[in-house]
């Protein structure tokens, strides 16, 4: 799990905004059918579940129609590093294309291998349902010189699978509740939120409702994920997320927020993640390179 501790900027720069059905009201929790964060979460699930090492970390099941395609990956994958991504929206259709280049390390009786795989995932986003992977095309596959990428383990992807799903939930996607296992903690875990001089404390459900006044309708763009162990508490971790939020507040005014969340999670015996608490504060947005300068 310590391998999770590497701060990384993965994918993301392209995962902007919220797509699909627009909400009718802002005063209640805004509900969308989908967010690009859902697709990002699905991809994290896809790659994480390909890694064979450390099976105690669980992922959501992959649709059986992809069994054949998944058999085309090397066997005994130990680590996967996403090298680059490219997102394209197919105009006039609710479709997205992610081209992802990965370095895949695997091991067999002859030793360790590295492979560069480039593949394109075509997502369809139905109006009232979660995105679906429609088609996957293998663009390129070639052997490479072996390189250690041991930070990119199953747990690396689990943290991101969870993080994107959580951000999708914050974006208003209810269908990811199963991924984040929210029933267990939604009304129990403590969520404290600090926005300037305003501080809100309460259950996650309560704080989210209050948060809606400030960040009513918009989307989170994940910037970084960092995971650290909590000293003295077995199976407790802090998931440190920084995301940028763009949208409108309850009064319809445009808002930009740099959201810093520290989520304490507990990995339970069944390997499900349970949120214990969330601390959120809004930092100085990265709009001015000089804002950190002191003279």
């Amino acid at each position: 799990m310590k391998s999770l501790v590497k701060p990384t900027l993965v994918i993301i720069l392209f995962f902007v905004g919220v797509v699909a059905a627009a909400p009718t009201e802002i005063d209640e929790r805004v509900r969308y059918t989908s967010s690009l964060n859902v697709m990002a979460s699905m991809l994290m699930n896809w790659y994480g579940s390909l890694i064979v090492k450390d099976q105690r970390i669980q992922f959501s099941p992959i649709d059986s129609k992809w069994i054949d395609y998944r058999s085309s990956y090397p066997e005994n994958i130990t680590h996967i590093k996403i090298i680059s991504t490219d997102l394209k929206k197919i105009t006039k259709a609710n479709k997205y294309q992610f081209t992802i280049n990965t370095r895949i390390n695997s091991k067999d009786t002859e030793g360790a291998h590295s492979q560069l795989i480039s593949e394109t995932f075509n997502f369809h986003v139905p109006l009232l349902a979660n995105p679906l992977i429609e088609k996957i095309t293998r663009e390129q596959s070639e052997e490479m010189a072996y390189l250690d990428i041991s930070d990119y383990s199953r747990s690396h992807y689990k943290a991101r699978h969870f993080a994107y799903a959580w951000l999708a939930y914050l974006d208003g996607v209810d269908d990811v509740k199963q991924v984040i296992n929210s029933e267990q903690w939604m009304d129990v875990a403590e969520y404290s939120l600090k926005i300037g001089r305003d501080e809100i404390h309460g259950s996650i459900a309560f704080t989210l409702k209050e948060r809606q006044k400030y960040l009513a309708k918009g989307g989170h763009l994940l910037g970084s994920v960092n995971v650290t162990e909590v000293d003295g508490k077995a199976d407790h971790f802090i998931l440190d997320l920084i995301s940028e939020w763009k949208g409108i507040n309850q009064e319809g005014k445009t808002v930009l927020a740099k959201v810093h969340q520290q989520i304490e999670i507990q990995i339970q015996e069944n390997n499900e993640w349970k949120i214990i608490s969330i601390k959120e504060e809004h930092l100085l947005p990265d709009i001015a390179p000089w804002s950190g300068f002191l003279c």
């Binding site: 005014k253 930009l256 709009i287 002191l294």
Partner: protein, 214 residues
């Protein structure tokens, strides 16, 4: 000190590039910057307690600094003076330029008033207790640091104006580094943009006018 020189150099470099990009100005987009700013209490340069919300209805530019600052503060206030002069009299009435001292112990309201007056008598100097100042600094996610625990005679500091009624041989000050950002705040008290002395003045004035007209 070396770090300060580096930062000033960086600012000058950024200023250069800002002036290039100014030619290709995009439409002004100024979202509310969530979590930056809010109401606070302080003491103005007349020694009167104020609430920041008292200025609601005005477009505000806030700068942080201190009167014994030898470099960026006089430069910043000179920049703001020039910026302010680009506004019409009617516009000036709808704008407030506020300088918050980060050294309230030295910068008494009277001294602050005299210091600010060297640039423009319309400008507002705010001081207060150290707790009040630290709160304002934290609200705006600004920073300041004492450069050394050693104090220096103010006579050795190149500064705008000496403090009145002080014995030159005894008058000492601490030196600080501090945030150089200029916070542009709308009529409802929301921070809408982060600028600095490298922002082309015409660009800054345009942003102020957008907020005046909202």
């Amino acid at each position: 000190m070396l770090k300060q020189i580096k930062n000033i150099t960086l600012i000058l470099v950024l200023s250069y590039f800002s002036s290039i990009s100014a030619a290709e100005l995009k439409p002004v987009e100024m979202p509310i910057l969530s979590g930056v700013g809010g109401n606070f209490s302080a003491v103005d340069a007349d020694g009167k307690d104020i609430e920041f919300n008292d200025y609601n209805g005005k477009v505000i530019v806030i700068a942080f600094g201190y009167t014994n600052c030898a470099d960026i503060c006089p430069f910043t206030l000179g920049y703001l003076k020039s910026l302010y002069s680009k506004l019409s009299l009617e516009e000036q009435q709808r704008v407030r330029i506020i300088f918050v001292t980060i050294d309230p112990k030295y910068d008494t309201p009277g001294h602050l008033k005299s210091f600010i007056g060297h640039f423009n008598e319309d400008f507002i100097g705010l001081s207060g207790t150290q707790e009040q100042i630290d709160y304002i600094v934290s609200l705006y996610q600004a920073q300041y640091n004492k450069l050394s625990s050693v104090t220096v005679l103010t006579d050795y500091v190149r500064r705008v104006n000496p403090k009145e009624d002080t014995d030159k041989s005894e008058d000492k000050t601490s030196l600080y580094s501090h945030t150089v950002t200029l916070y542009l705040i709308d009529k409802d008290g929301f921070t809408r943009s982060l600028e600095y002395t490298g922002t082309p003045k015409d660009e800054f004035v345009t942003k102020i006018r957008v907020l005046i007209d909202e």
